[in-house]
Symmetry: D2
Subunit: 453 residues, 4 copies
Amino acid sequence: MSSAERASSTPWANTHAQLAASGDEATADRQDLLDRYQQVRAASLAMTQGWSAEDMALQSMPDASPAKWHLAHTSWFFEALVLRTANPNYVARDERYFYLFNSYYEALGARHPRPQRGLLSRPDLAEVMAYRAHVDAAMADLLGATSPELLANLGDTIVLGLQHEMQHQELMVTDLLHAMSLNPLRPALWPELADAPIRPAICNEGDDLPRALGWISHGGGKVDVGHPGPGFAFDNETPRHTVWLQPFRIADRPVSCGDYLGFVRDSGYRRPDCWLSEAWATIQREGWQAPAYWVLCDDGEFDVFGPAGLTRLDPAAPVSQLSFFEADAYARWAGARLPTEFEWEAAAATSAAVPGDPSGDLATQQPAGQSAGLPGAGQVWEWTGSAYLPYPGFKPWAGAAGEYNGKFMLNQMVLRGGSWATPAAQKRIGYRNFFAPAARWQFSGLRLARDAE
Amino acid sequence: MSSAERASSTPWANTHAQLAASGDEATADRQDLLDRYQQVRAASLAMTQGWSAEDMALQSMPDASPAKWHLAHTSWFFEALVLRTANPNYVARDERYFYLFNSYYEALGARHPRPQRGLLSRPDLAEVMAYRAHVDAAMADLLGATSPELLANLGDTIVLGLQHEMQHQELMVTDLLHAMSLNPLRPALWPELADAPIRPAICNEGDDLPRALGWISHGGGKVDVGHPGPGFAFDNETPRHTVWLQPFRIADRPVSCGDYLGFVRDSGYRRPDCWLSEAWATIQREGWQAPAYWVLCDDGEFDVFGPAGLTRLDPAAPVSQLSFFEADAYARWAGARLPTEFEWEAAAATSAAVPGDPSGDLATQQPAGQSAGLPGAGQVWEWTGSAYLPYPGFKPWAGAAGEYNGKFMLNQMVLRGGSWATPAAQKRIGYRNFFAPAARWQFSGLRLARDAE
Amino acid sequence: MSSAERASSTPWANTHAQLAASGDEATADRQDLLDRYQQVRAASLAMTQGWSAEDMALQSMPDASPAKWHLAHTSWFFEALVLRTANPNYVARDERYFYLFNSYYEALGARHPRPQRGLLSRPDLAEVMAYRAHVDAAMADLLGATSPELLANLGDTIVLGLQHEMQHQELMVTDLLHAMSLNPLRPALWPELADAPIRPAICNEGDDLPRALGWISHGGGKVDVGHPGPGFAFDNETPRHTVWLQPFRIADRPVSCGDYLGFVRDSGYRRPDCWLSEAWATIQREGWQAPAYWVLCDDGEFDVFGPAGLTRLDPAAPVSQLSFFEADAYARWAGARLPTEFEWEAAAATSAAVPGDPSGDLATQQPAGQSAGLPGAGQVWEWTGSAYLPYPGFKPWAGAAGEYNGKFMLNQMVLRGGSWATPAAQKRIGYRNFFAPAARWQFSGLRLARDAE
Amino acid sequence: MSSAERASSTPWANTHAQLAASGDEATADRQDLLDRYQQVRAASLAMTQGWSAEDMALQSMPDASPAKWHLAHTSWFFEALVLRTANPNYVARDERYFYLFNSYYEALGARHPRPQRGLLSRPDLAEVMAYRAHVDAAMADLLGATSPELLANLGDTIVLGLQHEMQHQELMVTDLLHAMSLNPLRPALWPELADAPIRPAICNEGDDLPRALGWISHGGGKVDVGHPGPGFAFDNETPRHTVWLQPFRIADRPVSCGDYLGFVRDSGYRRPDCWLSEAWATIQREGWQAPAYWVLCDDGEFDVFGPAGLTRLDPAAPVSQLSFFEADAYARWAGARLPTEFEWEAAAATSAAVPGDPSGDLATQQPAGQSAGLPGAGQVWEWTGSAYLPYPGFKPWAGAAGEYNGKFMLNQMVLRGGSWATPAAQKRIGYRNFFAPAARWQFSGLRLARDAE
C-alpha cells in the first residue's frame, strides 16, 4: 500500500483528499478561496475524530503541542494576520487568546510559554471549537464582503494561513503520536490503520520484502533549484537560483525497516566510527539503542509503535521516526551518504519534470510502483545532508510573516519529500522541511546517495 | 467565616461533613466499615464536581498529580493492599493498572514514572470511574462475605486506605489549584467560594481586620507527645513518648495576609539576614518576591489566587501557600521563631484536652472565635521548626504499608493542624504533615512562637 | 594505630600536636594568645608541605575549595573581623581581597562566586603566602599594642578565628583528597601514611581484625546537653539545655570497612528497603554501588583511596567517606539505627566525664584501646540521626559572626566526634559538625545504636 | 599596527615568525622536517613565557583546556600517531598518558573526560615539560634513523602533527584568556601588548578611526574552491570543486569595535527582529548585553578585556570574541548579511591570486594597508554564513586521523581568515575554522556582505 493509499484509510481521508494545491489565479476567486478555506479547516477537525478531549490536551515535551492548541493556534493565525488587519470592527471572542495562542511571533507581542501549552485545561476543547467557529464565521464574512482589490491583497495571507494549517495537521499527528508512545499502554490512535501498512511503494508488486536497492545517476553540473513559480511557495523556497552539482547517484527507494534492522543487528549503535561526534555523545547520554518507536520484545524481535499501535516490525516499511543523527550514521555504515537537498531536488525534478509543470506535487507525479524521479518519495520525510540556510538572495516576507521561516535558519537540517501524513498540497518538489538533528518524532527516514563512480 | 464554615460552602460539603473519624471498635463492625468506606469514596467524587476531564488530567509539576490519577491511585491502594491479598479470586479490571497507578511502593514492583502521570490520556476519565466502581463493588463483596476473623485483620488496612484517600482529597485540591495558578486566565475552581472567605477565625466578631496578636504561655518541662490512642493514627505519630520542653510562648492565631504584607512591604524578600542560606539561594534563583499565589497589580496592591480565582488580598485571611523558607523568614523578621512540633502539640493539647478525649479533632474542639488550645488552628497547615524524623522507638508498619511514611523522613519539615480543605477526620492534634522546605503549593502558613520571657 | 598516632605521622604532626585547646582565662593573656595564633597559623602551612602550587589551586566541585583559597580565606577572616575593626589605620595588602576571599558573609558585601574559586590562578600561591604574612604581621602588631580592655574584647573574635582556621585545616585535606580521587593516576597526598593505617582503635591489641561489636547501655531520662562551659564553643553548641531520652544502646566502636563490605556484598546498594526514598533516588541517579573512594578491582576485591593513595581495603579500618544516605542504609540493613546527637553526647559524656572536666577533648580522654565513654570515637566523624537545628534558646552571635552557623540550619545532618584529621582542640564532646546527607567526601562514618531491649 | 605587527610584539615573536609553511617537497627532506618540528615545538613553549604553573592548569569551561594540557596533548599526538606506529621499540615515559592526553579519538581507546582536564594537578607542569622533551628526543631519533621510504610515509603525519600543534597554539591563548576574563582581577596575560593595539589595518595611515566601509564587487558564476594544492591542507579543505555563486559585494574591512558599539547603543541586544530564534533565546537566557569581553564602566563607556588586560574600547580595533549569533545579528541590523564561506574564498582568491600561487598565506599576501583581495583579513577570524559541512566528494583521512575533522561537521559555522594569534603558516585562503554558533571566546569577528545591487 502506498502512502497515498494509507492516507486514504484515515478518518480524514475524504476531506483531505479534496484539498487542492494553491494556485495564483485562484486567489482572485472569492468563492474558490472560501471553498478551499473551508476544506482545509474541515480537514483539521476530521483528523481529530476518535480523539478525546484528554488526548487533545496532551503535551509530551516542549517541542510538541497539544492537538487542542494546534486547533486554536491555526485559528489565531487567521485572527492575528487577517481579521485584525482587514476588519477594524472585528470583535475577538476573547482578547486573551491573542496572547494565549501566539506561537513565536515576537512582532505580535508576548505569548504563553511553549513548554506550558499542556497546562491549559481552560479554555477547554468545546471552547476552542467555538473559537474556531467564531473565526470561521468572521472569515466567511470577510471573504464575502471584501472588495476585489483588498481581496487580492488578503488572498496571499489567507493562502499562507491555509498552508500553515496544513503543516499543523501533520504536527497534530506526530505530536500526539509522541505522547502515546510514552503511555505504557501504547494506545492506537487509529487501530484501523493496522490493516493499511505502507509497503508496496518499495516492494515489487505482490511482494512482501523490499526490492534490492537500485541507483539513479545524475550528471551534476549547472542546475536550477528553488520554487519555479507560479503557485504558492514559502519564502524559504525562494528565490530560484543556480547551483553547481558534482555527478552523483541516489537510491531508487527509501531505506526500509529491514535495511535498518541490519544496522541495529550489526551493533550500529555501539560503533563510534559510524556517528558524528555530537550524535555519539547524544546516543550515549540518552541511551539510544534503536529508533525511538522500536520496542525490543522478549523474543529478541522488534515491535514498532505507530498510529495503529504496537505492531511487529515490517521489513518492507520505510524506516521512520529517525533523527538526522541516526539517518547519517546509517548512511555511513552502508558505505554511502545522505544526498544534499539540491541533489534530491535535482533528481526529483529531472525525471518528474514535464514541460510546463515543474512544480507539481510528488504524490500526483509518482503513483506507487511506477517509475518516477524518486520512486518511493512521499512515504516518509527524507533527511538530507544540507543545513537549513537561506537561499542566495533570500528575503523574508514583510511584517510578522517574516518570522515564519527565516529566524529558524540555524542548527537544523533539511528534509525533503513528505510522508503519508503530509497533505498532498504540500508535497512540492521544492518544499523544505527542517528539524533539529536530534528530532525523532516525525515521520522521518532517509534515502541513500553516493558520489558518481 | 471559619475554616469549617468555608468547607461547608464547597461542592462536597454534605458528603465530607458526614465523614466520621475512624474508631477502633468500629472496624469490627462490618456495616459501619462499609458505610464509612462508601462515604469517603463518595466524597472524593463529590470534590470533582465542576471539573472537566481536561482539568482532571493536568500535571503541572512532578510533585503534583492529576486529579484523575488521584482517583485511580486511591482505588489501586485498595486493590493492591486489600483485594489482592484477601481475595485470591479477585479479577482486576486491567492488570496493567497495578503498574500504572502504583505511586512509590518499591515492594510492589515497578511503576509509571511520577513526572509522566500527566501524559496518560488513556485510560480516560470514564474508564477511571469504571475502575473505581469495579474496586468499590469488589470491596462491598469482600466486606459482605468476609469472616469476622479475617475482617478484624483487614479492617486496619481498610481504615488506612480511607485515611490515605482523605489525604489525597486535599492533594486533589492543592494540585489542581497549582495547575490553575499557571494558567494565565486564572480560572476559578469554585467561583462560589468567593463569597466564603476564611476570616473570622482570626478576627474579632464582626470585624474585618485580624485582632492583635496575643501570646499563650507554656511552662515547658516533661510532656508526653504522639498518638495517645485509641483510634487510628499513622505509624509516624507513634510511639507516644516523653520530651522535655523549655518554657515558651505561642501566638494565639496564625499569621494573616495583612501581617505578611508588612514583611513584603518592608523589603523582606531582599534582606538576606532574614533567610536561611538555602532559602536565600532559592529566592534569588527563582526570583521569588512574594508568596506564590500573590499577584502584584498595576495599582501596587496584591491580588491573591485561590479556589475562587483571583481576588483582592484579604488582610484578615491567614496567609497560605507559603514555603517553609518564607514562614521561617517571616518569623525571624517578626523577632520570633517557628514553634517546634512538640511545642505546637503541647500547646494544642493542653487547653483542648478534656478528660477521656485527648485525640479529638481540632475542628470539633475549636469552634471559631472561642478560646481553645490554639485558636485559629485548622485554617491553614502551620509550618513548625521541626525536621520530619522518626519518633524514638518508631517502627514502620509491616509489609508494603511500611513504605507509607518512614522512607520520607529526611529533608522535610513538619506541619501541624490542618486546613479548610483537610477532612475533619484528619485534624488530629498528633497528625504530622510534612513537606520539603521549598514546597509552596499547599494550604500552608504559620504561627509564631517565642522563648519564654 | 590510633587516630592520634596516625596524625602524628603527618607532615604537620609537630605543629599540630602543640595546639592547645582554647581557654577563657588564656584570652586575657596577650602573649599566650599570640603564641596560640602563631601555632594555628603555622599548622595550616605545615599541612601543605609536599603539595605543589598546582595541587593547591584545584577545585573539584562547588562544595570544595582550593587549598590556596583556604589559606587566603582564613587570613581574610582575621582581616575582615579583627583588623578592619580594631585598627582604623590598617592598610590592606590588596583591597580587592575583601571581595575575593569572603566565603558567605552577606553582611560583609558581595563575594566571588563559590564555584569559581578554582579559576583564580592570580593571586598566585606566593602572593597568598605574602598575604598571610601581611595579616600575621598586622595581628602581631595589634596584639602587642592593644590595651588590655580592647584585647579582652578582641580576644573572643581572635579565638573564633583560630577555631575557624582549624576547621579549614581539615577541609584542606578532604577537599584536596576529593580532587585527587578524580585523578586517574590516584596520587598519594602523603605516601608515608601508607605505613600508618588507622586500625588498633577498633581491634584488640595486636589483632588485625576488628573485635566483635559490643553494646553500651544508657538508661535515658533527663539529660543535659550542649556546651557546659567554660572554654570556647561555637554558638550552635549553646545554650546548654535539658532533653529527655528513651533508654538506648550504642555500639562500642565505629563500623569498620569489613563490616560495611558485608553490606555491599549482600547487595545492599540494590535493595530499596534499606534506603530512604531520597537516598534511593540518589544512588540510582548517580550510580553509587559502594562508598565513594572504594575501587572495585579486577580480582573482585576493593581498593580504597585515601591520603596514602590507593591501598587494599583494610577490614579493620573504620569505614569513611560515607554519606548520611549510606550510613543510614547500613544501619537499617544491620537491624539497628543511627544514634541521635543527644544519645551520642550523653553516652560520650557519661563515662568520659570526670569531676570538673566535662568538656575535655575526646582524644585526650580516650587513649586507643582503653575503655572510655565511646571507644573508638575520634577516628572518623560519626553521622547521627539528628537534623542540624537550633537548640532551644539559640541566639546567633552578634554581627557578621552571626552568619557563621545559624543560617545553615536546614537539610543537614549532625556528625559528632572527629577524625584523625581533626585538630585535637576541636574534638569536644559537644561539637556539632554538619553536612548535607549526600555529602561523601569527608572522613565520615558511623556508629550503630538501638533502642533498649 | 597590523595583526602581523602585533604578533611581533608577543613573547614568542621570534620563534613564531620563523615558522615556514609546510611544503610537499620539504617533507622528503629529513633535516628540514626536523628543523620545522623543532621550530613549532619551541614556539609552543615560547608562548607560555610569563605564565605560571597555576595559570597553565586552569580550565574555565568544558570547551577550553588548560595550557598544560595543550602542551601534553600535542606531544601525545606525535606519540600516538607517529612514535607508536613507526618505532616498535618506543618506550613511553608513562603508559597512562596514552589515556590521559587523548582528546577525542575513539579509535585510540578511552580517555580522560574533557570537563575534568583542569583537575590534573599531577602530572605537574615540570613533568609535562619532561614528557615533551621525551617525545622530542624520540622524534629526533626517529627522524635521524628512518629510511627514506618510511620517512616519506611518516612525513605526512608529522606535518599534520605540526599543523595540529599550531592550532593548539592559538587555543592556548584563547582558552587561558577566557579563564582570565572570569578572574575579577582581570589579569593581563601580556601587559606589554597594551602598547600594540591592532588598528591601522582598518584605518587610513596615521588615523585613529576606521575608514568608512567600502564594498568589493564580485560577479559570481562558476568558481573553484577548496585546496588547490600542492602543499599541506586539512582533509576538510578538499577536494577542490566547483560552486556557482550569485553576484555579491563584500566589505573591504572587518567590522570594528566602533561599528559594533553603534549596534549596542541602538538597543541591538533588545531587538528580537535582529536575531535568529535560537540566538534570541540564548541572549535572553544568558543575559548577554554586549560582547563577552566588553565591560560597561561607571561612566557609561566600555572597557574591553584582552591579552593586555582591561583597556578602554578602541573604536578602530576589529570587534572580536563575538559569537556567530552576534555576528549574524549585527549584519542584519546593518542591512547586510554574512558572506558564505565560498564568497569569502572567492573574493580573497580573486585579487590575491598571482599566477602559480593561489595558495599563499593571507599574511604574506596582504601587507597591512595595501590593497589586497580582502583588506584587513587575518586580524580576526571572520564568521561566515556557511554551516560546516563536507565538501562534495569529501573523504576523511584513513585511520585515527580520520576523526580529526569529519565527525564535527554538524551544528557548527565556518570562520575564515585568521587572527593575530594564528600562526602565519595556517592563514591559508582555503583554511576552514569552525565553532558552534554560541562560541564567543575566540578571536572571532565578522565582515559584511550583500547581494549585488
